[in-house]
Structures are given as C-alpha cells and as structure tokens.
Point group: C2
Chain length 446, copies 2
C-alpha cells in the first residue's frame, strides 16, 4: 500500500493534508489531492514531490472512480452528504475510507460489505466527533480496568476564541461552519440525569445552560447537545444513570443568544417576504406587537425580552447592528440566514486572532465503595486565523489514522468510529507530540 487519495482541499482540510504530505517522502507514499478548484489542490501539494493535484467534480462518477481506483486509502473531506457515493465506490473497488463526519445510518448499513472485504471505513475521526470519542474511551476503559463503576459521564467541547483575541461583547468568533452555529440546538436536547430521561426544547436550551469550571481558565457556559444518549452503547455505558454531552461558550454568551432565539431570529425554515427591501430596524420592529407598548424599537425589544434597555444582552444586540436602519439587502432570506450573514462579518476571525478549543470530560464513579470524581481537560490555542486549533484538531487525527492504516497497524474492519484501543491509543499518543494533551485530575468526594 502506498497510494492515498484525498478528496476535498478546502480551508478546513489543511492540517490533514499537510500531515499526510509531510510523511509522504519518508514513507514513500503517493498522495493525490483532488478538489473542484484545481488551483486549491495545486497549492496544497506545492513543494511536496510525492503530492499530485487533481481536478475533480465529485458528482462525475467516472472521474471520481478513477481517483478512488488509484488509491489504497481514501480520505473524504467533502461535505457530509457527499460521503455516501464515495463509500459505495470504496466498497466496489476495495479501498479503505476515512472521514471526520458523523456516520449516517446509510453509512452504517455498508458495515457488513466493508467487513466482508476486510476494509475499514472510519468515520467521526476529527475533533468533535473524533478526539472526544478517543479521549473519553481512554478514560472509561482506564476507570473500568481499575475496577471502577461509572455513574456519571459528562463531556463538553467548545470551539472558541482565545481570551487574548476576545475583543467583542459576545466573546465569540466563528472557527467552524457558521450555519451550524446559527441553527444549533433546534429540536429537543435529550440526556440522562439520575437514571431519568431529561428533555430541553429549543425554546429553553440557552436559558438552561450550566456553568463548567475549567482549571486555569475559569467558568464556561455549556448548553446540552441533542445527541447525548447516542453513544451510550458504543462507549460501553449502557446502564449509566447520568450522561450528557454539551457545547461550551464563554460566559454571558448563552443569555444573549437566547435573546436572538426568543425574538425569532434563528428560524431557518421560512423566508422573510420582501427581505431585500427591509432594514434591520424594520425587521426587528416586525417582531413587536401591541403587548410591548410604545417607544423606540430598541425599547420595545428590551420589553419583549424582559431586559432593561441598556442591559448587557441589549448591548450585544445593538453591537450586532440589529437596530440600524441599514438595508438587509438579501432577497428571499430566512431570519437565520440574515442573522448568519450579519454574524459572518461581526464574528470573523481576524488574521492574527487565535482560536481556542476546550474539551472536558467529567466522570463520577465508585471504586471499592468509594465515590470518586475525575475530569480530563484539553485546552488548545491556534496560531492565527489560518492555522486554527480547530483545523489542526480536526485534521491531525485523520492524518495519523491514515498512517496507521497504511502501516497495516489496524485490524478492525467494517464501519466504525474511533472507540477501540488499537485506534485511540496510538492516535492520542502521537497527538501529544503535537501538544494535544489532556490533563487529568481526580478528587475523592467521600
């Protein structure tokens, strides 16, 4: 095995491609980097003798198959909905496949076929999902090996702006898909508390955040993810009475985001009619009714939210420009899209800004009748807007895993996520050489 095809060379693909190309000379790998934009692919491989760019429209079946045919291992950095076509080709042509995306039900259904052909299809091999699975499993298996019975597992991840680059009242900048940030949490979050199912509907999600203490960093706010229960079985925690996955934000973010939710600005389901003719001010006025009485739009929005007009929340709304008489200038746009476009500008990472990833797992367990509590925490900063901690932590695990497969060190087959020791142990170990280190602390409560 010495051929790797990487599909997708967009901005978030840098760290993964760089890792693989860095290894390619020594390991004698030949690496094809394919993208719809041939310039992008060329730029990515530039300077690497074993790297070759390719121009690929992934929807052109024959071109896609040619690319996959020449590889032993395929890395798909495409948007999630495009992986399945690639996966079918990989089954047909007997190629291993690696992605950072959530594994869909359709993908899981290819498990038997992949296993029959001795192939590994590894999904969720990025940061969240990815490093979260690996670092949690290491802790879980470690506690179990010591005879511990785990009674609570809570896991929090945030893609944030580093405090030294935090210069806006929201204490947030985009480091990943803005659309997902705007629509986050719609539906109902589910988790387990004291053995009981708990639900938080979207309308209360950003009110019912909890405060998480991160050593050396202070407190963060965490709101619950939709999918806390999904990994119980695969983590070996089927009967655990407490399980929660959450998303971290800097302090005072959630109450302000909740204001946007309550006003109605995160609805992505229906376009605002004649949105191109309206100003932000007119749009905001549109959400008001007689119940808010008279006064300026800002005063009435404050009343709608139960805020004083100069509260921290209202200052955040004002800073976004929501009360300005500037035209929205977007036709047929949903409120969520209008908000996203506004935030894109306001929450843009500036060239020298550093982002910061915070991940923390919290466990409660008993060993020999003694109640214990432990936490393991990763805090990592990026270098600048181009070299973010986010892209590094999404890309490196894929790169390292590709190496393990190329070296024949992976025996697992079928459709998987990285929860097995033969994957998480070498990947976490090598990540440490890139300063991706979890610090652990343990306290006894009894």
């Amino acid at each position: 095995m010495n051929n790797i095809s990487i599909i997708g060379a967009g901005r978030s693909a840098g760290a993964c491609i760089d890792y693989i190309l860095d290894q390619s000379v020594e390991k004698n790998w030949f690496v094809t980097v394919a993208d719809a934009d041939p310039e992008l692919a060329r730029a990515r491989v530039s300077g690497y003798p074993n790297g070759k760019p390719a121009w690929l429209d992934v929807l052109k079946t024959n071109d896609r198959r040619d690319l996959i045919e020449r590889a032993d291992v395929v890395v798909s950095l495409l948007p999630a909905h495009l992986h399945l076509e690639v996966a079918h080709d990989c089954i047909k042509m007997k190629k291993h496949l690696i992605t950072a995306s959530y594994v869909s039900q359709e993908m899981y259904r290819l498990g038997d076929e992949a296993r029959d052909r001795d192939l590994i299809f590894m999904g969720e091999m990025g940061l969240d999902p990815g490093i979260d699975h690996m670092s949690a499993m290491k802790q879980i298996n470690d506690i179990k090996a010591r005879g511990g019975e785990i009674t609570a597992f809570r896991s929090y991840t945030g893609g944030l702006v580093a405090p030294e680059s935090d210069d806006n009242p929201w204490h947030y900048k985009f480091t990943w898909n803005p659309r997902n940030v705007v629509l986050a949490g719609q539906g109902t979050a589910q988790y387990l508390e004291n053995g009981k199912h708990k639900y938080i509907p979207y309308s209360r999600l950003f009110k019912e955040y909890r405060l998480i203490d991160v050593p050396g960093m202070g407190e963060f706010e965490a709101y619950a993810n939709r999918d806390s229960l999904l990994y119980r079985e695969v983590y070996g925690l089927s009967d655990i009475p407490n399980i929660l996955r959450g998303t971290l934000r800097h302090r005072h973010f959630c109450e302000a985001w909740n204001a946007l939710v309550q006003i109605g600005l995160t609805d992505g389901s229906y376009p605002i009619l004649e949105s191109e003719r309206l100003s932000y001010h007119e749009m905001m006025e549109g959400y008001l009714s007689r119940a808010q009485g008279s006064g300026s739009v800002k005063e009435r929005i404050a009343r709608l939210l139960g805020e004083s007009v100069d509260s921290a929340v209202m200052q955040k709304l004002e800073w976004l420009g929501l009360f300005r008489k500037k035209k929205i200038g977007l036709a047929n746009a949903t409120p969520a899209f209008i908000l996203e476009q506004l935030l894109l500008e306001k929450w843009k990472l500036q060239p020298k800004d550093k982002d910061m990833i915070v991940m923390q797992h919290e466990f409660e367990y008993t060993i020999d009748g003694e109640k214990k509590e432990s936490a393991s925490t990763l805090v990592m900063r990026g270098k600048d807007a181009e070299n973010t901690a986010m892209s590094k932590l999404v890309g490196l695990p894929m790169g390292i895993f590709v190496k393990l497969v190329m070296e024949g060190k992976i025996n697992s087959t079928g459709v998987n996520i990285p929860v097995m020791p033969e994957v998480y142990e070498p990947v976490l170990q090598e990540l440490e050489t890139y300063d991706v280190k979890f610090t652990e602390r343990e306290v006894s409560l009894s």
Copy 2:
C-alpha cells in the same frame, strides 16, 4: 366530453364523489373512481349506474396513465405530494386537472404547457384554500366596483366542533388532518399591519392570538397563519397596508395549546429515545429542570408554565392524560407524534357529533372619503361524524367546478386558483343551494 376520472376515494373524498355521481346520469357522464383500496372505490360508486370502480396504485406509471387516458377531466384527491406526477400525465395526454391542495411552485411551472394545450389545472378548489379565495374575491371585486379602496383585509377560517357537540374542556375535536393540527404554525407567521411587516415566531404564536366576533356565535380566538401575504397579488391587493389570514379556535384553546408548545410537546423533528418504555408521567417529568424546584410533576409543570396547579390550562393538560403513569407504548416517536396519538383518541368526533366551519372575511375601505367596515361570515354545521361540514365544503366546490368544465363554461386556461369571476360566481351561487351562504354586514365608522 363525458368521462371523469377521480383518483382517491378516502374518507375526505365522499362529498366530491357523491356530487359528481349524483349528476352523472342526467349529464350522461361516465365516472371512474380509483383507489389503492378496491373495496373503497367499489363502495363509493355502488348504486350509480355510470360509476365504475378501479384499483390503482398511483405510483405504477402505466396503470395511472391508463386511467387518465380514458378521462376528459381528472380530479386528484391524492395527498398533495402526489399531484405532480398526475399533472405531468395530464399535460402529456391533454386532460383538465382539479385538486383541493395548495398549488406548489413545481405545479405553477406547468402553467405555460397547460395554457398551450388549452387545459385548465385548477388547484386550491376546496374550503381553505378554496371557498376562502372565492368568497373573498367576490367581496373584493364588489367593493372595488363600488369605487372603494380597500385598506384592510383579514380572513379567518376554523374547522371546529359545533357548540352542541362540544363536550370536552379543550372545545376542539379533529375534523381534518390531525398531524397538521399538531404541527400548525411552526416557523414564523408573517402579515402586514399599517403597511409594516409583522412577524410572530412559533414560540409566541399561540400567546398573540386575537379575539374575533362572529355574529350570533360570540367570540373566537384567531392565530395568524404563515402565509398571509402570499395572495396579495392574485387578490389584486398588492399595495394593501393591512392583510392577515388566521385560524379560528373556540375560546381558551390557544392558551392551553401554548402550554403544550412551551413544554416542548409539539416538536416533530426528533424522536424521544426509548419512548416505548416511558409513561406519559415520565415524559412530562423529563421536561422539568431544577429551576422548577420540588413537588409533584404536575406542580412543577404548572410552575414551568407560570400557572396555578388547578388553573383551566392545567385542567386541560390533566384531562389529556399527560400526568398518567400509563405507558406511551410507541417506539421511536417524536413528542409531536406521541401528542397526536393521544389527541386522536381524546379529540375524536363521536358518531353523532356535528362539526362546524366558521369563515369570516373582514374589510376596511374608503368610498368617497368615507371610512367603512364590512364583514362576511359563513357558519355551517355538519350532520354527523360521517357527513361533516368539512368534507362537504372541501368536496362540493371541486364537484361543481368539474361540472362547469364538463359543460364547457370555463374559458380560463393554465394553472390557476379560483379567483376569477367565471369560476367563483357560479360556484358560490350553486353552493348557496346547499346552504353554504355568507351573511354580510356593513358598518360605517366615520
């Protein structure tokens, strides 16, 4: 022209099919009634010499085309998403098409092809949409003909239970698609007030209802529909500063439905995990957090809603059985589906129950500088659970329109909704012979 094919013979199709079959002997029409259930089709035509049943799986292209081929006019009573296939066949085989469903963008795109072939594709030919368009257009054109300038148009429709059959605390029973009732209003309602765009997000929709006075019937609650602005152009009201379409409910419905929305029970986007193992009581408890303190689940839900524990709203929730320890017994069910299944039983129309349709249009306009206000109102009761006002008012307009087309009285071509005098005048006139009568009243405000 003497052949009619009716596709779909389900429960809601009765009034339309009966009307057409009743006319078929005198007019010498041959009517084929097709359904996936051949018994249903047979029962519908039973006793009518010119009626013929057919067994049709509408997704089987050849069978569907055979059925359409033999008709001059096709009536599609299928679920809305299945009309388009039928419409393409009708284009190909040059047949007129009539439905009661909302006309989709894809359907409108067939307009030129239909017009080129001298065909009429009439959609929204039921009650709401249907009779609402026709009765509104009659009023609008009447006011305009008298030189009036319309400054406000508000239109309300409700499919309700008649007061004499109203024996539950919600004052509501299902007379139409229960799923649509449970999911109603999700997204953002948009309308115009004093020339300004107004938005009501779902989270406030059932709080911000208005009270509508219906002569002889008292007050009803109306919540805003999503689509108030859609018909401005086609109604000839492009520059109107006030336009609103709303849905009517009996008094005290909206505040209680709002409680279900606030709890989170109308979310249809994600299944409750392990829903088959839970009781209603456990599900309700799942929505509570520490913020509601201690006490029984009922007490804490009351606290969540800001209600006293024995309030009218809480009594309605209790009456539904939401606090019972009975198992839900539905696997992989969303909150909305669990609620729908519960309501199906609780809000079922009993055999002798009468339903009631209320439709009211309200206009403000000026004639010769004088400000005027008028309203036109339809109140109609059904006979029993089998012969509902709902099915009659949805089916009769289609039946009458089929007759007009068969008699060559319709000159319009293309894809349409019933806003033209050549359609609404004869249809409304004949509807009066079935006691479908609007009463009009006019007041001068100046």
